[in-house]
Symmetry: C2
Subunit: 156 residues, 2 copies
Amino acid sequence: LNRESAHPAPAPALTKQRLRLWLKLLKTSSSIETSLRARLRDEFGTTLPRFDVMSALERHPQGLKMSEISGLLKVSNGNVTGIVDRLVEDELALRVAVPGDRRAQRVCLTPGGHEAFAKLATTHEAWVDALLGGVDQTDIDQLIALLDRIATSGEE
Amino acid sequence: LNRESAHPAPAPALTKQRLRLWLKLLKTSSSIETSLRARLRDEFGTTLPRFDVMSALERHPQGLKMSEISGLLKVSNGNVTGIVDRLVEDELALRVAVPGDRRAQRVCLTPGGHEAFAKLATTHEAWVDALLGGVDQTDIDQLIALLDRIATSGEE
């Protein structure tokens, strides 16, 4: 049985188109991320990982353990430690003891930290609004539905 | 003239939706990138930046200066130097003199480098095909058209 001629390899057109889509997706995402990083640096003297740590703390007012921050952000504990150290130095975050666990600590934002993050988040949202100014509500709904197909396809 | 009451702030719904789209885009892109990084590491013992350098060299058989590689990849010269050093050690790339410019060098892939990259690229393409298996040609066309709107909106 000559399986090769009975079942010729499928035309690679769709494969090539998926690769093209992936490169387009990566380029779009990287370009927005690069722009946001530059603006955070130039206008606030801050970094995207620091913004992300503050954002995670903002969403968890009861505080987060270091390992929980790393898990939420998918960055190494080492990086999170450095970022949290700086936030504590800047009085934007503080470490609090966990009752019943002498070695554990939770990190939470100070009132000043909440205030600083609110300003950052408002400006960040306006930047994203401008960067994505070319898409309207219909485009957004379509894009999210299509991106959902990508996101679930890898888990099958 | 009370401009605030004459022109109330626009409803933030679309702004919030654009932020939601950006987070979705970032999550989709990061999740694919993380998967590709892990597979390159586990199955080929290589990294995405090294793959990207080889890919750039593959597309430029006449060779590239170090600064050209950095520009194409948007990574620092320092990182590119380390990656190229390793490729040269592994006999996958070599540095050649530029006629008429004693200090300049171009980097190009060796025949072994082309061969190694071809294997990597074929496997990488199959991974992307599987990761994006949930989208068909119609989805891809729609996604690329919609992503094009995002990509150009920031340049207005």
